[in-house]
Symmetry: C2
Subunit: 388 residues, 2 copies
């Protein structure tokens, strides 16, 4: 049995293209022995990942059954938490969003009320589509701050009081006993935006401009987290040609713009009102936004020279809603970065909308749980339990 199920993960990768095949066709395609194919398919059916899909062509005698990957058989919950909003969705195993809800929230309320809301919402959405928690493959969570991806704990997150070191997976698993993965919201958005809008782009840089500023780096088709999961932290780098000692977030984030405008007009502007001030045509606000875009452009230009992406996506509330931000970024990047790196470079606003964060959080789980090694490990665990 061990011999037959080890390697089931590789066989499953073939079937993820969605095409139905007979056991005989799988033998021919892989060179595997009949007993191997029969054993591995039985294990994948047991996991619920593969199901009978009809009847194949007969080569004389009884026509053989075909089998196919069934993306609707298991579900994933994607949770996308921002500073002032939260989104929760249910996806199938292709990352298609089956149900969603978004609400304003305050991340500084702390982990328990925020996660309770997310988990209550997930339970409700599952009930809405008539599915059961038993169907869950896993849960993905994005949060607006640095995360140690291996443990799922936020690490000194500046705008998330009460969350430092909180064991998000442990808390979530008290309600749903499944695999839980956590990452920062920018990495989640990079994954979601790529899946939604740029599926064929292997080198993509996602830059979120909002309460904080951060980057999600996809290189060679893979999200890069670096050695400690800290990759993409461009919010705390010095701005070339900027005021000395001011980092990018202190120069160009929503709170930085609010502070600049407050000083300029002698009245207190809240960070959440910055977008409105710009969109109603306040000249001081428009000029500050353009300057903020240029500062982000100075740092983006270095990223572009260093990583040579083919697409830079500008997201976050400011990045998407304020055209002066992307205009300032484009102006500086095309002036500064090396010609070979900008010749074919697109700099575009994010288009994924609400679903990008939900879908990104779910895809993080799907790519992890459906990887060949993970499936083999799941089957090992199952057969070990069965043997006890």
């Amino acid at each position: 049995m061990q011999t037959n199920t080890r390697g089931a993960g590789d066989l499953f990768q073939l079937l993820r293209d969605g095409r139905a095949r007979t056991r005989g066709e799988l033998m021919e395609e892989t060179g595997l022995a009949r007993t191997t194919v029969v054993g591995r398919i039985a294990a994948l059916i047991e996991l619920g990942l593969v199901s009978p899909a009809g009847i194949g062509a007969s080569s004389g005698g009884r026509p053989p059954a075909t089998l196919a990957f069934n993306p609707a058989c298991r579900l994933v919950i994607g949770v996308d938490l921002g500073a002032t909003h939260g989104g929760v969705g249910i996806t199938d195993l292709n990352g298609a969003v089956l149900a969603r809800r978004q609400e304003p929230l305050d991340i500084s309320d702390g982990p328990q009320p925020v996660l309770d809301w997310a988990l209550d919402t997930a339970e409700q959405l599952l009930a809405d589509i008539g599915r059961d928690p038993e169907d869950l493959l896993g849960i993905g969570v994005g949060v607006p701050g640095p995360v140690e991806h291996s443990s799922g704990r936020p690490i000194r997150p500046p705008i998330m009081p009460g969350w430092d070191g909180f064991d998000i997976p442990e808390y979530v698993r008290r309600r749903f006993s499944v695999s839980v993965l956590v990452d920062n919201d920018v990495n989640i958005l990079a994954l979601g935006e790529r899946a939604t809008t740029w599926p064929n782009v292997d080198d993509l840089l996602f830059i979120k401009v909002s309460t904080g500023i951060g980057a999600g780096i996809i290189s060679g088709g893979v999200l890069q987290r670096g050695a400690q999961g800290a990759a993409g932290d461009i919010g705390h780098v010095q701005v070339p040609h900027g005021r000395d000692e001011d980092d990018l977030e202190a120069t160009a984030s929503a709170p930085a713009l609010a502070a600049q405008l407050s000083r300029a007009i002698g009245d207190r502007i809240a960070p959440r009102d910055v977008v409105d001030r710009i969109r109603v045509g306040d000249p001081a606000a428009i000029s500050a936004a353009r300057e903020a875009g240029r500062a982000i452009g100075e740092v983006t230009a270095i990223c572009v020279s260093m990583l040579n992406p083919s697409t830079v996506v500008i997201g976050g509330r400011l990045g998407v809603l304020v055209q002066e931000i992307i205009a300032g970024i484009r102006e500086v990047v095309y002036r500064r970065a090396i010609p070979l790196a900008t010749q074919h470079l697109n700099i575009v606003p994010a288009q994924g909308g609400v679903d990008a964060g939900i879908r990104g959080a779910a895809l993080m789980v799907i790519e992890d749980r459906l990887a060949p090694d993970t499936i083999d490990a799941m089957l090992d665990g199952a057969s070990t339990r069965g043997a006890r």
Copy 2:
């Protein structure tokens, strides 16, 4: 035959660990049918990648033959071209250097004399170790300038007059009819340094400080070239806190230091003499080197915040020979980059020596030619030719 050889590349990856196995053991390990294992092993023996390695344990009857990957059966030529030196070596399929030669040269002599020297040297080295050009799997070439990796042509290389757009693979193949891959010297050094000194590091940043300044980026265990192969070009980014409009190479390369020293002492110092001026203790030269190190540190700090490598290796003639360079880099990186990214960060001088470039060039070829898909394609080609 097609069915049996497709997938031979995957079977070969198992054998790359060097352990000898019988055909029966391979069937058990993979779940493949006997006919599949027999066919794929025959194809791998035909390619010269796998050979009989002795006799396995008998389970009754005639003891079965074992098979193993034979790294000495095929050879790779690694060519490492710098601005003022060249290295040529022969490696086995594990990247172990079997023979090498290094000589001063001038890259600005142009492609034909430089490549002729490299190919003459390779032929001589092959003869020295008593091997034949028939044994070659491929040739890797590193050059000191930007390269379009897909075509192997230098793209407007600043210090390589006569090389712009030159088809290096086509020229090399006139002498040796094998696969030829070309990359810039910094990527080659990153691959070689990792293999030589940091085999377990998946996130490594290599910075070369010499006539030019450039970076080689290994993220998630993979060398990242970006969309146009331009990744790692940090020589042309603006230096934060630097003199306005001066890029990193204009601030901190060997020619930049030579120009600064020439102005300071009113006499002409050549770039190649900069290292000596520093090492004999000239205070102006030492101070300029420390400042150059700090400027490189400003850009490196941004790279570290963005990529979160676990190891930064400082290479190139200046980087390795002048301790003030690495001291300046360390000073600024540990001051500027975010704590989470520097907490476990090593900044170390390159240790690979002459062999790093040769080995890196060879490894680029080995990883490409021994990848599962490449082996399957080689076998497809072979069986198509056989069928004609």
